[in-house]
């Protein structure tokens, strides 16, 4: 911790800075311009999904569209086999949990371990950094305007699962598709609600163009982002 003497200095700094800022008489601000709403607000569900897939594809995410939740497992299996992935870590969020992927993995001969197998931070880090080839997660939102996945990080959704392994596989139920960022942030940062320690927007795989302006994927995070979109159970019924 910071020592007492240093704390005094720091507290002094706070007062000094704020006091100086407060001395300034604030000008009246002109009214803000009114912005026409983004086009995505007038989209139908199908159009939103179309925009989402279009934007995801532009960011070089691999999109797999299946009709219902029932087909998700088979699709995941074929994705894993195609990519040659044999070791996966899976989160326990409410999108992926009902599928019991660890059980399915045992049938397929693919190791799919939930993060809850690990209670020790260092052990968990060793697995995500060195052992698995993919992280499997659900999403809380899929934002159509830019093909962005919104993920709340909490006990069920560790941060490193979607970051450290070379591939990230995300499951997107269609009822989690929203038009814009604000629809997601209004929900996550609602007044009086417990705000998650981290909320992340993911748009395509990790990327850079820092050497010779040559763009490539997989700089530090995943090189591959695979998105499986499926009709959420409720919509499938209707």
């Amino acid at each position: 911790m910071v020592g007492t003497k240093e704390r005094e200095v720091i507290m002094g700094a706070r007062e000094e800075i704020l006091e100086r800022l407060r001395q300034v008489k604030q000008p009246l601000l002109p009214p803000r311009p009114v912005l026409p709403p983004l086009r995505e607000f007038s989209f139908s569900k199908e159009e939103l999904l179309e925009r989402l897939i279009d934007e995801l594809t532009k960011q070089e995410a691999i999109v797999q569209r299946v009709e219902s939740a029932k087909e998700v497992k088979a699709k995941l299996r074929s994705v894993l086999e195609e990519e040659g992935i044999t070791k996966v870590i899976v989160s326990t969020d409410e999108v992926v949990k009902p599928f019991d992927f660890p059980g399915a993995g045992r049938e397929w001969g693919i190791s799919i371990r939930p993060h809850t197998d690990f209670t020790d931070r260092d052990q968990f880090k060793k697995v995500v950094f060195e052992e698995v080839q993919a992280g499997l997660t659900g999403v809380n939102f899929a934002v159509a305007e830019s093909g962005t996945l919104g993920i709340i990080h909490d006990e069920q959704e560790p941060r490193l699962i979607s970051l450290a392994p070379i591939a990230h596989i995300a499951l997107v139920p269609t009822d989690r598709v929203v038009p814009t960022y604000e629809v997601a942030t209004d929900e996550v940062f609602k007044n009086g609600q417990r705000i998650p320690s981290q909320f992340t927007f993911i748009t395509g795989p990790s990327m850079t163009a820092d050497i010779k302006a040559t763009p490539f994927k997989g700089m530090h995070g995943p090189r591959r982002l695979i998105v499986i979109i499926f009709d959420s159970p409720e919509e499938a019924k209707g």
Binding site: I10, S197, I211, H220
Partner: protein, 476 residues
């Protein structure tokens, strides 16, 4: 970072002849600028979208003290520790102490311009704590010990052969290759091991949301996410003006930031942290420190004009369209901030005496102002700085202009005070110009205006003046 702003002219003259860098500057900034225009088109009304982000920045700066307190309150409530620092030294001490107390031998860093501004890396090294830049461009620039060439691509101008040699020397590249992708992956492997074992991650902050106490980082590579996920301690540093009123405003600014910065709709990763990790989470920091470093900003907040500089969100759009930056690149600006952004900021941070060439190196064309998502009028600020300099305003620590220049303008002032004097001085200068004229151009005027003629010619005087011509017309 040791500032070399005094050497602006020397470095610029050198860089303008750097063909490799020039080839990049001729290509890349225009492409980013074009992409920016294209992707702005995704707004139903791009002009209004720009105006709104400008209004948000104006309001954020106007309400700065109130928003800062609100941000601090909410961040602390969420479990973050907020530490204030008057200047670079205090901020460096805080961070070095935090690292020392945790017994770390190295820290990984996400790209943060303010840590370059306060020269954090140098001090950490002295304290035997190795600071490792993890943004690929920053990593290369750090190893080569160079200032950032461009705020978005700090080492984008470095030839691949040089990067290959560097990586071979560091022992992180096994095969001899100049393929940018292979070079990138070599850096990935090297830094991945660091990310795995870091105890303390250091990041900057793009926005701090007052309403929720949230800090937001925007990036493409994922290195900042690692810095915020893997270590047990996270230290994030910001200057006061990063604060914005609420999440709605932050989302609109995010759209403008990414479009202006790289011509993307959104960067690959945007992380919004509110406090440290909660109980039961297996990763994320157990303790989150937010360092707010003022470094002179509350002082230049007092002046209505210079306050405007605090609106800047460091997107770098002004670099890409600047006719000066796109010829000389980032090195001549001699500090963490380059282009028009650096020309308005560096003088306030370092004093006018060390930065006079910066705010004079401008054609006042105004493209920076026209695209600035923060609504900064850069050319007006340059004129203001020049004005304060001539007036010897002590607040800005100016140096007197050269005696020759001052004498010239005193004469100029006298000569233009009365109509008759003006007419006479025009006649006199026309005679002078005739004397030095060669085939319609002047390439020198003896001992006069040597500064001008060092780099440029001047068109010869026309046969008659406009007034003479106008007089004849009226007579017709």
């Amino acid at each position: 970072m040791k500032a070399r702003t005094e050497e602006f002219n020397e470095i610029a003259q050198h860089e303008v002849k750097n063909e490799y860098a020039r080839a990049f500057l001729g290509l890349l900034p225009p492409i980013i600028a074009m992409r920016r225009v294209q992707v702005m088109g995704s707004f139903p009304d791009p002009e209004k979208a720009l105006a709104l982000s400008q209004a948000i920045r104006a309001e954020s700066v106007a309400r700065l003290p109130e928003l800062l307190e609100q941000f601090e309150k909410n961040a602390v409530e969420a479990g973050a520790k907020v530490l204030w620092a008057r200047d670079g030294k205090e901020a460096r001490d805080i961070i070095v102490n935090l690292a020392r107390e945790r017994g770390v031998s190295f820290v990984t860093k996400g790209k943060s311009m303010v840590t370059e501004e306060i020269g954090l890396n140098e001090v950490m090294k002295e304290a035997q704590i190795e600071p490792i830049e993890t943004d690929l461009g920053e990593f290369i620039a750090q190893q080569l010990n160079r200032p950032p060439f461009h705020i978005v691509g700090p080492a984008i101008n470095v030839p691949v052969e040089e990067i290959r040699d560097l990586f071979m020397k560091m022992g992180i590249l096994k095969e001899d290759t100049t393929d940018p992708v292979q070079l990138g992956y070599a850096a990935r492997l090297y830094l991945r091991d660091k990310f795995h074992h870091i105890k303390l991650g250091l990041t900057g902050i793009n926005m701090a949301v007052a309403e929720t106490g949230t800090i937001i980082n925007v990036e493409n590579e994922g290195n900042i996410r690692f810095n915020k996920s893997s270590p047990r301690t996270q230290v994030s540093i910001m200057t006061p003006e990063k604060v914005v009123p609420d999440m709605k405003d932050a989302m609109h600014l995010l759209r403008l930031l990414c479009r202006s910065c790289t011509g993307q709709k959104i960067s690959a990763y945007v992380t919004m942290d509110t406090g440290p990790k909660k109980r039961g989470e297996i990763d994320g920091p157990e303790e989150l420190f937010i360092v707010i470093v003022d470094n002179g900003r509350s002082i230049f907040y007092q002046d209505e004009k210079t306050r405007e500089v605090l609106r800047c969100i460091r997107c770098g759009a002004c670099l890409n369209t600047c006719p000066v930056y796109t010829k000389i690149g980032g090195y001549p600006y001699g500090f963490a901030y380059s282009g028009p952004m650096g020309q308005i900021l560096n003088p306030l941070l370092l004093g006018f005496d060390r930065t006079a060439d910066l705010y004079h190196a401008c054609t006042l064309c105004g493209t920076c102002r026209s695209i600035c998502p923060a609504g900064i009028d850069h050319p007006a600020l340059f004129l203001y700085y020049r004005f304060r300099e001539v007036e010897m305003d002590a607040r800005f620590r100016p140096k007197r202009r050269p005696a020759k220049e001052r004498l010239f303008f005193r004469i100029w002032h006298m000569a233009n005070k009365k109509r008759a004097r003006w007419d006479f001085s025009i006649k006199l200068s026309r005679v002078m110009m005739k004397k030095y004229e060669k085939e319609g151009w002047l390439s020198s005027m003896g001992q006069f205006f040597t500064g001008w003629f060092k780099e440029r010619d001047f068109p010869a005087a026309s046969r008659q003046t406009f007034r003479e011509w106008w007089g004849q017309r009226k007579g017709r």
